[in-house]
């Protein structure tokens, strides 16, 4: 395989709280290849957003305490703040969950969308604006030159998210990080935005990291995915294989717990019992073991590493690493 575009190696990010240190990202590693869409899946508080913010070094007040983020031969965790600013918005762009609050309410949309090129490419206001208008049109905003003069509150939620995407694309970045880009939107608008992200990936060849809690979104968008739980990657692999044959009990249980639109008969759901762990006070061993139906004695004692299980996947689970198949209980 070719050299990955972005490589996260054993990343650790912590937050200091009154109750103690929270290891929000606890040894996360993954690779992103050019042109691909990688999904990061997990529930709220699993560390998926902090991982993304750490790549951009915007994780404040959290601190990166270990690991590397290799991008084009340099480690993003070591370069100066000035060098990092040159990467943000230029080489790696980011869009956020809530398009309602992610745009500055007091500046016109066109001005905000043209800001990255003015800043990074040194374009004058006119050139930057005309390129911004062009980009707004390409992401599907009708009569873009007129809408560029609007303020964000005059846009609907879907339109704002399109504007955010346009803002990210004006500098033709190599990586786009989309942090729950459709969570705040209605399903029909979500479908539009996902469609747009697919087009962006195809047209611009932008490698995308798609962070979401929605397994359906990942299934339709990503070639590969990683599943996170309590700050760690518990499973990683090609999307098709992970869905067809999950190698971590968390992934396995999650897939069985959500109702499917195409289910033929009404069967009771099989929920994951218990609660997501308290990050200040994690269970010993595998953090998922108290909720795991497959747990063995060792799970409470030792933390499993993320290693190859089966042909294409990696999983951090003592049970599957020992060769046991995950089957209905």
């Amino acid at each position: 395989m070719t050299q990955p575009l972005l490589e996260v190696q054993d990343l650790h990010t912590v937050f200091s709280t009154k109750e103690g240190t929270v290891k929000a990202v606890d040894g996360v590693s993954f690779e992103l290849h050019s042109g691909e869409t990688l999904g990061i899946v997990g529930e709220s508080g699993c560390g998926k957003s902090v991982t993304a913010m750490s790549i951009m070094r915007l994780q404040r007040p959290g601190r990166i305490v270990g690991g590397k983020v290799m991008f084009k031969g340099q480690d993003l965790t070591r370069i100066s703040e000035y060098e990092m600013r040159e990467i943000r918005g230029r080489e790696i762009a980011m869009i956020f969950q809530d398009p309602m609050t992610s745009l500055n309410p007091v500046y016109r949309v066109g001005w905000q969308v043209s800001e990255p090129t003015r800043l990074h490419n040194g374009w004058d206001a006119r050139k930057a604006l005309s390129s911004a208008v062009n980009m707004l049109g390409r992401v599907g905003i009708p009569s873009a030159s007129a809408r560029a003069r609007d303020y964000p509150h005059q846009f609907s939620g879907g339109m704002r998210q399109r504007a955010m995407i346009a803002m990210g694309l004006t500098t033709t970045p190599q990586v786009l990080i989309a942090d729950e880009p459709t969570t705040a939107l209605d399903v029909t608008i979500q479908a539009q935005i996902l469609d747009l992200l697919r087009d962006v990936n195809r047209e611009f060849g932008t490698a995308t990291i798609l962070i979401t809690h929605n397994l359906g979104v990942v299934a339709g968008m990503c070639q590969r995915l990683i599943v996170m739980y309590a700050g760690k990657v518990v499973e990683a692999g090609p999307t098709a294989d992970v869905f067809a044959n999950p190698k971590h009990p968390y992934t396995w249980s999650l897939l069985r717990s959500i109702p499917r639109l195409d289910a033929e008969r009404h069967e009771p759901l099989k929920p994951i019992e218990g609660l997501p762990p308290n990050l200040v006070d994690l269970p010993s061993g595998c953090a998922f073991h108290p909720r795991c139906v497959f747990r063995v004695e060792r799970c409470a004692r030792d933390v499993p590493a993320l290693i190859q299980v089966g042909g294409t996947q990696r999983a951090a689970c003592w049970v599957t690493q020992a060769g046991t198949e995950l089957k209905g209980v």
């Binding site: 915007l58 040159e86 943000r88 918005g89 956020f96 745009l103 500055n104 007091v106 509150h153 803002m167």
Partner: protein, 323 residues
């Protein structure tokens, strides 16, 4: 529609103006008893003269009649004559108002120029020694009685300096600065009272900007700005400050009524010939018409201040629409 919005606000204001003037008149009417304004200056008046005076001033009529005729006058631009010295109320107000505006505008200006950077620095260096020091100063600023601070400044900068033969600042005597005295003289008189007034504004506003700035810096669009690769300076001043300053507008708009009430103590301490002092002195003498005139203008100021603040808000914050 902006015009409609203003019209609606003004309509609501009419009720407020009527309410305020009526309450003021009622209070004066209750307190006055049988006292006839101006009587102190003429001990030789005979009872029939007093009766004539009462009739002249309209004091023999019940208060509502007096009020209605006063309203009638105001609608025709006539605020009547002072009951003490007979000159028109308007001439008093025209005489005093510019002085008050000169003092307050200076204080507000100084207040803003100092408070904004102080507040921003406090927010950016939150928890640092600088922040703590600024906090202590501004919290102390709330706690000093204005008149006491005025007296202390006079003691130090006028009295003591003069005693030691050093250049000193005048403590009072700024009479009619628009006619007598040159610009330099006027500025000299302005320094002490403006300092006292602006000290209070700086204390209030810097705290306000600090917390408003902290709030803004935690917003999602600040994160967006950082993700675009902007320098921290650009993030703070271009994307943060404008949003943080918007709420300050309301606060300053609310300060306009301070022209009369808030500045009064300072005007008295420094013998500043402002409108607050005029109202204070005339209220003590039951000069109905002058007090009513000043009340009227003061209330208009309150209303104008609030309206202006809301309109400015709309200019600065595109989300606000008037309808």
């Amino acid at each position: 529609m902006l015009a409609k919005y203003i019209a609606r606000r003004l309509l609501a204001s009419v009720v407020v103006v009527l309410g305020v003037t009526l309450i003021t008149l009622l209070l004066m009417d209750r307190t006055r008893g049988a006292y006839v304004p101006g009587i102190d200056f003429n001990p030789s008046l005979r009872p029939e003269d007093i009766a004539r005076l009462r009739a002249d001033l309209g004091l023999d009529r019940p208060f509502y009649e007096w009020y209605l005729s006063w309203i009638w006058g105001v609608l025709h631009g006539d605020f009547g004559h002072s009951m003490i010295d007979g000159s028109t109320v308007m001439s008093h107000i025209v005489d005093r108002l510019p002085n008050t505006i000169e003092l307050t505008a200076t204080a507000i200006l100084i207040g803003m120029v100092v408070a904004v950077p102080v507040g921003v620095i406090g927010a950016l260096r939150r928890g640092s020694k600088t922040d703590h020091a600024l906090t202590v100063v501004s919290v102390a600023g709330f706690a000093v009685p204005q008149f006491w601070m005025g007296l202390m400044l006079i003691l130090i900068f006028s009295v003591t300096l003069e005693q030691h033969g050093l250049p000193w600042l005048p403590s009072s005597g700024a009479y009619s600065p628009f006619n007598g005295g040159d610009v330099l003289d006027r500025l000299q008189h302005l320094v002490l009272p403006a300092t006292v007034l602006s000290f209070f504004y700086v204390s209030t506003w810097s705290r306000f900007i600090r917390s408003s700035m902290l709030e803004v810096l935690s917003q999602d669009y600040i994160r967006t700005a950082r993700a675009k690769g902007m320098s921290e300076r650009r993030v703070v001043y271009l994307h943060g400050l404008r949003n943080a300053l918007i709420p300050l507008i309301t606060l300053i708009g609310l300060e306009l009524p301070g022209l009369v009430s808030g500045g009064l103590v300072v005007e008295v301490v420094f013998g500043w010939p402002g409108i607050g002092r005029l109202a204070f002195e005339r209220a003590l003498q039951y000069d109905y018409s002058t007090v009513m005139g000043v009340t009227f203008f003061a209330t208009l100021l309150v209303i104008a201040g609030n309206l202006l603040a809301d309109l400015l808000y709309g200019v600065l914050d595109p989300r606000i629409r008037y309808g």
